[in-house]
Amino acid sequence: MLRQGSAHSKASDAAFTSSARLADVSQADAVGVDDDALFDSVTPPYVALDVEIPSDVKQIEPIVSLVTEHCRALHLPRRKCSLNIPVALSEALSNAIIRGNHEDPRKHVRLRATVSDRALVFDIVDEGRGFDIADVSHDPTDAESVMAEDGRGVFLMRKLMDRVEQFKGPNNVVRLTLNR
């Protein structure tokens, strides 16, 4: 597991561990290896971030902040760094911590960000069985749903990312792809 380099802030240091408790995300690699957005690059894709955080929702904000710092350094369009990535990533991490790991302090969530010429790919890995994203089909903007207090997370991920995928194996992997 790679550690974040010079850009990471003091505030986010606490979010980093060197643990390798989670299985490698190779299960996702195996499925997504022909992913054009990631691998059809002039220069090879590289892992910009690979961290593991405890199952505590308080850890989401510092790690998302770290990722958005990276995005700005990549000169992505402003809105992708200030809206698309932070909101979609918060949703995925929140799902992994709450619904995947049930906020169990003994469990961790791994985030791996891979950058290519064409896209940013985020793999969010939890230790639970997760819930099937494909089963989430309701539209929270329907008249009968807009007053609901929840049910917007997956909708926002889909709206703000170019692709949302899920791979199930020893761990639950949600992959968010955002074209650059």
């Binding site: 904000e61 200030s82 809206l83 932070p86 909101v87 949703e91 929140s94 207090e149 929840d150």
Partner: protein
């Protein structure tokens, strides 16, 4: 991330500094509900200093709006930046809330 409450005229104005997300939404909810319990009925949440809001943050705004209305009060929002405005439009929550461009506009006629 912090929430600052102050009374301006008859309204309780809440400044959201930083993010409104799953990790802190309960704090905002409790602070507003405490004021509602004390008898306050007019609330304005100002997002001038806000970064982003996740679905949990949006959910707490919907929840507060309902509870305030149940008590005969009103919740208004102000100062959404372009990103937040987009978020409200995507979720159609812009149709649910009274959203003003500025705090001053929101307080007019409150």
């Amino acid at each position: 991330m912090s929430f600052t409450l102050k009374k301006i005229g008859d309204a309780v104005v809440v400044d959201v500094e930083g993010q409104l997300i799953v990790g802190n939404r309960q704090e905002l909810k409790q602070k507003v509900l405490d004021e509602l319990e004390k008898g306050e009925r007019k609330f304005l949440i100002d997002f001038a200093q806000t970064g982003y809001i996740d679905s949990s943050g949006l959910g707490v705004l919907v929840s507060l709006s309902k509870k305030i209305r149940e008590h005969g009060g009103e919740l208004r929002l102000a100062d959404l930046n372009d990103d937040l405005q987009t978020l409200f439009e995507l979720t159609k929550l812009d149709t649910l809330f009274q959203i003003a461009e500025t705090r001053e506009r929101a307080l007019e006629g409150f």
